[in-house]
Amino acid sequence: MSAVAAERRTYLVLGFATTHQALDAERVLLECGVTAKLIPAPIELGGALCGIALRVPAEKSEEAENCLSRASLPAEATVRMEDY
């Protein structure tokens, strides 16, 4: 166990209908200069989406959402989460 608790960070988690779309969104975000991490989709996104989600730092939220909507790949659902 680390003696110093890590600083808690806030993220935007983006959910997609299919794994294909989530991976496509990861690629598109990278092209926009936003590094997103693939994570297991949290239950907070709702039950109807694919099993993986993308996580971007909260401060990159707007940039990420704009980038995806320009590519016609908007997330089906988003949720803000801490240190997920």
Partner: protein, 389 residues
């Protein structure tokens, strides 16, 4: 070009229209890598192995889409074979009472699903090809206009005569008359530079293991984003949609229920990458060999070649009929005495043989591919000469 290894390494393989052999090294490596390194189940789970596998499938789909001119890779579906792809595009779009117009050169992958649909109330109108296996757009237009038509169905290229059908004209005819165009591209993909965005079919089925040079057990189906197609198979698609008992409406998941053939998908992706780089030179190579083969056969007395004359384009296969010796006898002797692999019979396409007058005995089909060399064609021609002398 690499020669095959193993017990059949001395064979002259002229059956590429049945399946390409051997497979290119990048395809073999990709299949092996999928089996050894990418053991996760794509779309199922989010652990590192499942993610790497999902990524490999995603990339394979994009590479195939780029090769075939599909703008949105979600519209390109992995299927277990071209046969399954044909079944999905036909049974997913056609209903009892619909009327369809179909060319007479079709393979059983189309003929048999249509026969089943016909028994259930589909009206099927057949447009006869000419003696070279070509479907005349004027004939098609006349039949399409003679009644409300739901779909025009035509292959891209014939597995019997090698004839390349005028798909651009057929797409215009279909769309001007409110019909969809459904295409069996089994013998075209890879052998022709297929550009789906410019052909504008509503459905296009392709085989992964023939001209595409991928492994067996994999095919592709393009479905136009606007076309509603019922899925044939219901089942698991992974992820959170598991909560619903209904199939998701999203592509590709709706048409890919069940754990897929990951080595087949990634192997086909590797093949598509290779074709993007070398497809033009493979095609040029094949057409040189076809000229050599076609002219060589015409020099041997007693043979009739099915399909277009040597100066006209065709996919790289040549079906021949001898005036006295049966095709199955010729193929047997080619194999036994000369180690030349060719396929005799009706090639799962009785309609096509009927169209070009070879239904009674079928034909011997010789088909070249990326590893065939001029000396292989010479060897086959020498063997044919000896067999008929």
């Amino acid at each position: 070009m690499s020669r095959p290894e193993g017990p059949h390494s001395n064979m002259t393989y002229l059956d590429h229209a049945a399946t390409s052999w051997p497979k290119p090294a990048p395809v073999v490596d990709s299949v092996a890598r999928a089996l050894v390194e990418l053991g996760g189940n794509p779309g199922r789970g989010a652990h590192a192995l499942a993610l790497s596998t999902s990524r490999a499938v995603f990339e394979a789909r994009r590479t195939c889409s780029e090769l075939l001119g599909v703008a949105d890779s979600r519209s390109l579906l992995f299927q277990p074979s071209c046969t399954v792809a044909c079944n999905v595009m036909l049974k997913g779009t056609l209903r009892r009472g619909d009327r369809v117009v179909v060319g007479s050169m079709e393979h059983n992958a189309v003929v048999r699903p249509l026969a089943r649909l016909k028994a259930e109330g589909l009206k099927v109108e057949i447009v006869r090809a000419d003696s070279a296996g070509l479907i005349d757009p004027a004939d098609v237009e006349r039949v399409v206009r003679s009644g409300p038509t739901r779909a025009l169905i035509c292959q891209h290229a014939s597995n019997v005569t090698g004839t390349i059908q005028p798909l651009g004209d057929l797409a215009d005819i279909a769309h001007e008359n409110g019909a969809i165009l459904l295409v069996d591209g089994a013998q075209a993909a890879g052998h022709l530079s297929v550009d789906i965005d410019s052909i504008r079919p509503d459905g296009y089925a392709a085989s992964g293991h023939k001209g595409m040079l991928g492994p067996p057990g994999i095919g592709l189906l393009y479905l136009s984003p606007e076309l509603e197609v019922a899925e044939l198979i219901q089942g698991g698609t992974g992820g959170g949609s598991s909560a619903s008992s209904e199939m998701p409406s999203h592509r590709p998941d709706r048409y890919e229920a069940g754990s897929g053939n990951t080595p087949g998908m990634t192997g086909l992706g590797a093949a598509a990458g290779l074709l993007a780089e070398k497809g033009d030179s493979f095609r040029e190579h094949s057409s040189d060999l076809m000229r050599q083969l076609h002219e060589g056969v015409l020099d041997i007395a007693g043979f009739r070649v099915l399909g277009p004359p040597p100066e006209e384009p065709r996919v790289p296969l040549l079906s021949i009929v001898h005036k006295t010796i049966e095709p199955d006898r010729i193929a047997f002797l080619l194999d036994r005495d000369y180690s030349v692999a060719a396929r005799a019979g009706l090639h799962c396409a009785a309609w096509a043989h009927e169209s070009v007058g070879s239904l009674a005995g079928g034909a011997v089909r010789l088909s070249v591919g990326w590893t065939t060399q001029a000396k292989d064609v010479d060897r086959a021609l020498c063997a044919l000469r000896e067999i008929v002398s």
